[in-house]
Symmetry: C2
Subunit: 242 residues, 2 copies
């Protein structure tokens, strides 16, 4: 009955579907028409409610079958799952928003909207990974200082330039004036991010040391900074400092 279906906010086809799945089996007339009773309405309401919460029909059947013994636990799990979904949704929305505002501001006519979105998503990935390597309070500190996309881009450029300059100076004396100038720039960039906070410094260190476990595209991103010789040179130069 279409009338009955509309009453619960579902289509007739959905009722057939639930019937075949065994979720809701109404009585039949001798000619085969489905006849829904008041108890069926109740049952349907429950099904629709659980469906609204994003629970798959098969599980709904099982849950209503066991008459909800572990229902509270199942709902807790579902809530957690939904919250995770929302995080992803938020990230997608934010990526579009930020790309839109940046493009509208006309700041970067050289990059296309799509490229900007890719950057945004990658940045969010970075942020997510960093989160995993710091304690909650440290993470608070990190987010309180606003780390804007512009600052991120600036930092990337600064580090890239510094690495290029160091590579060109590998033959020099680590204790010499040119190497020491590079060491100064290095330390300044480090402090620019850590703000001199030891917690943050430790988090970054943790993150960096776990390099082997990073996802592939993540490692790809830091490839320009993986030159071992540069790191060795800087270590010596920094040791000569102070």
């Amino acid at each position: 009955m279409a009338e009955f279906a509309e009453l619960a906010g579902v289509t007739v086809r959905a009722l057939h579907h639930y019937d075949r799945l065994g979720l809701l089996r109404p009585k039949r007339t001798r000619t085969g028409y489905r006849k829904y009773t008041a108890r069926d309405v109740e049952r349907l309401e429950q099904v629709v409610a659980l469906k609204f919460l994003g629970i798959p029909l098969k599980q709904i059947g099982a849950m209503l079958g066991r008459n909800g013994h572990d229902l509270p636990a199942a709902l807790r799990r579902q809530r957690v799952a939904l919250e995770e979904k929302r995080r992803l949704l938020d990230r997608a929305i934010e990526a579009i928003q930020r790309a839109e505002t940046v493009i509208q501001a006309g700041q970067k006519p050289d990059t296309t909207l799509l490229t900007k979105i890719i950057e945004e998503i990658e940045m969010q990935d970075n942020v997510d990974w960093m989160k995993k390597y710091s304690s909650d309070e440290t993470w608070d500190k990190l987010t309180r200082r606003q780390w804007t996309p512009e600052l991120q881009e600036r930092a990337t450029r600064d580090w890239t330039e510094l690495f290029r300059d160091v590579e060109a100076a590998l033959e020099e004396d680590p204790a010499g004036p040119r190497a020491q100038a590079l060491a100064d720039r290095w330390m300044k960039l480090v402090e620019g991010f850590t703000g001199g906070d030891p917690d943050i410094t430790r988090s970054v260190s943790n993150l960096y040391n776990d390099r082997p476990n990073w996802p592939a595209h993540f490692q790809e991103q830091i490839k320009p900074f993986s030159n071992k010789a540069v790191w060795a040179f800087m270590n010596r130069a920094l040791a000569c400092r102070k």
Copy 2:
């Protein structure tokens, strides 16, 4: 190449899929193996990004085909769609949360968790519909006064009782003392909700007059209050008042 796939964070099977859909057609070796170039990597990044935004693969193909002329418009639409999805997610999460807290507090041992969730969802529906009948500022007023589930339940009970009492008094004189007492109760309940605010009163009136356009299950919910005789009696009684 599995290595290549992992680099972009997708599976080999997904690459095959994109290939068949025409989204990403790499060159082949004479023996039929797929050979991905740098340009393919770029393209794949774009596909993955748009997929992250929840855009179906077919549309991605079309968008990248027309080389993104209307891409800004498409992204705006997608953002709006995602925001709508998020609203639904929020509602589901909130429904579970509220039901959990109510149950944990042990306030209603008579109703099961599932029943409570159904109530929550229906209440949210109500709220959503009310929103459509009031201006933004009026809506602000309504939400500032906290309308808790407990108050809602209390109001429902009060109205139900009042209706029962009025139905039992239909034979009396609308100007008589018993009818006037009922009229007083009526006005008090009205003011309990509107707070005497004319904007709110108008919104409620709008909402009520559009009754025929309400969704079915919504009308079902107010069925106990649809007795025409009661309304007629109360109109006369209220006219005699003051």
